[in-house]
Symmetry: C2
Subunit: 344 residues, 2 copies
């Protein structure tokens, strides 16, 4: 029975509040047997690509698991979405050699016992790493949050915050495909440049250079915003509420500006929900996973025809995964943050 | 042509922030001709009952009229919902002697030029003043905000804030009719008593006596809240967000605790919109006025059979209207605040 080295990224202990540090995680090397346990209905995989996502911050803090995704277990490998290759399968849906995406460990080899959210990758004529992003969980997030929650109509105005991230860049391109006017915000000139010149946003601005977010939004949306795809929260949300149109919709995907604060910023302009008759809806992508087939049908042809562009920020090696993850909260990544564990 | 005295309540000047004072209004006596102007398509009415409603606070402040109801005009009579009798009509929909409800002036006689939201009162076997409340705008507000926005299901748990007010008392009773468990909050023992012993709420508490709103809600909703009918905003909303169930709905009707603050309280727990997949929707009742007939069909039989109870706080005389209005913000009223201008 083959026993191999298995490098892992573990969470050393829970992070209570504030920005996590690299020293909160450790890269360790263990050994593992490359064999499914007797009678297991799970899948043994070799991990290829890992996805770094903002929601992972919440899993680093001990919290009431009933209210959200479970926290990580200190001393055990971190887990997240990723792409892997099946080495051995105890379930008829998967066979050796299949490429899959879903929840895997931050390690070289994982035994996946919960295969409910494990998807077989149907084609490989797009880069495999795309299944950590545009063709994986973040892609489904953009799809569900934009189409299912906001019901966009041609000619509507759309604002996306954290727009150069994995989800935001896709929301903007969906908005253009839907015939909308779309503007995004991001935190550096490089990112703003990407939004305008690569992803086809009608406008983009660097929120760090705007002394007054309300004024910035009024510049881009003199008639107001129909749809806001919310990724950041706090002051940006307050400024957006001032600028929504009557009957507007806010899809709440995340609030990355708040995740590392001891106390979240208070949002003061919620009374506009009433006066402007706004709907604000939070969602978790897992609810929409049954739409994955429909999503692929929409998005794969657009990628192949070059109508949807996708930018990744790729880091090599599991040992660099902790700093890549923390880079999300400092806004260091340009595009979707991916970590390569192995290129097969 | 008869010329009569016409007592009026006028707004002297705009109130910028803070609690309005009685001296911000004045009761004056003018004269008016009891004759429709030549060619007018409006309606001349004698006013009977006035409705005091929290939303009127926003009309006392100069603001961008595009975003909400227009502000009042200083020096002119305040306007609001009320019940009146038609003296002369320039529109075929109304004739002399008809009883109507809709937007009227705080005065003895009004010329109504905009009759879009003027409704003919079909029956008079319930008290006429009910058409300022349960059978008028506040009733439609409860109906739209509960049934249309929240889609209640039997067995769900419902929380109503400002529950003894015109809207809240009705939402609670709708919730019971829908087979829900309902708890309300209010600001005095008298009101709590009304909720429990008159309106049939399953529970009620005095928020002023609760040092910890989160703990109070956990006491009444150990399993969490499916539906929150939001009337107050601020700290209460923050506590509710902590206690919503996954997939919960929040109907945002108003935020009375915030109306007189220079700066609204910040709401910090909005991240629960994502983790609990909540929908939060603001609304204005005017959008739902086309459902008025359907609403009357539902609610009139229940009133006649005594299955829906309604409590009014009735003040006599237009000269007492300013203090009655301000009483809303001090929580002085017990039940729907009505002002009698004339009993026909």
């Amino acid at each position: 029975m083959a026993e191999v080295k298995n490098k892992q990224v573990i969470l050393k202990e829970y992070v209570s509040a504030g920005l996590p540090k690299e020293s909160d995680m450790a890269v360790v090397t263990t050994t593992t047997k490359l064999k499914l346990p007797e009678g297991s209905g799970g899948v043994l995989v070799k991990n290829l690509y890992l996805s770094c996502d903002p929601y992972m911050r919440s899993r680093m803090t001990k919290h009431d698991s009933a209210s959200y995704v479970d926290p990580f277990n200190p001393g055990e490998p971190i887990s997240g979405f990723g792409v892997a290759k099946v080495l051995e399968s105890g379930d008829a849906k998967f066979k050796q050699g299949d490429l899959v995406w879903g929840m895997i460990g931050w390690e070289e080899y994982s035994l996946i016992t919960s295969i409910q959210y494990l998807f077989k990758i149907p084609t490989t004529d797009v880069p495999l790493s795309y299944y950590t992003g545009i063709l994986g969980m973040p892609g489904m997030t953009a799809y569900a949050g934009f189409y299912e929650i906001c019901s966009p109509k041609k000619g509507e105005t759309v604002f996306v915050s954290a727009a150069s991230g994995a989800v935001g860049q896709l929301v903007g391109q969906f908005a253009k495909l839907a015939g909308c006017y779309v503007v995004g915000s991001a935190g550096s000139e490089d990112k703003v440049d990407l939004l305008k010149n690569k992803f086809g946003f009608d406008g983009a601005f660097n929120y760090k250079e705007e002394p007054n977010l309300d004024a910035a939004l009024k510049r881009y949306f003199p008639e107001g915003i129909d749809i806001y795809f919310e990724n950041v929260g706090g002051k940006m949300l307050d400024a957006v509420l001032l600028n929504m149109k009557i009957g507007g919709r806010i899809s709440v995907c995340g609030m990355i500006s708040q995740y590392n604060l001891v106390q979240p910023e208070g949002v003061q302009n919620l009374m506009y929900l009433v006066s402007k008759q706004l709907r604000m809806e939070g969602f978790l992508v897992t609810k929409y996973f049954p739409l994955y087939g429909k999503f692929l049908e929409l998005v794969l042809p657009h990628i192949k025809e070059g109508k949807i562009i996708y930018v990744e920020d790729v880091v090599e090696g599991l040992e660099n995964a902790p700093s890549a993850l923390l880079g999300l909260f400092a806004g260091r990544n340009v595009g979707k943050q991916v970590v390569v564990v192995s290129r097969e």
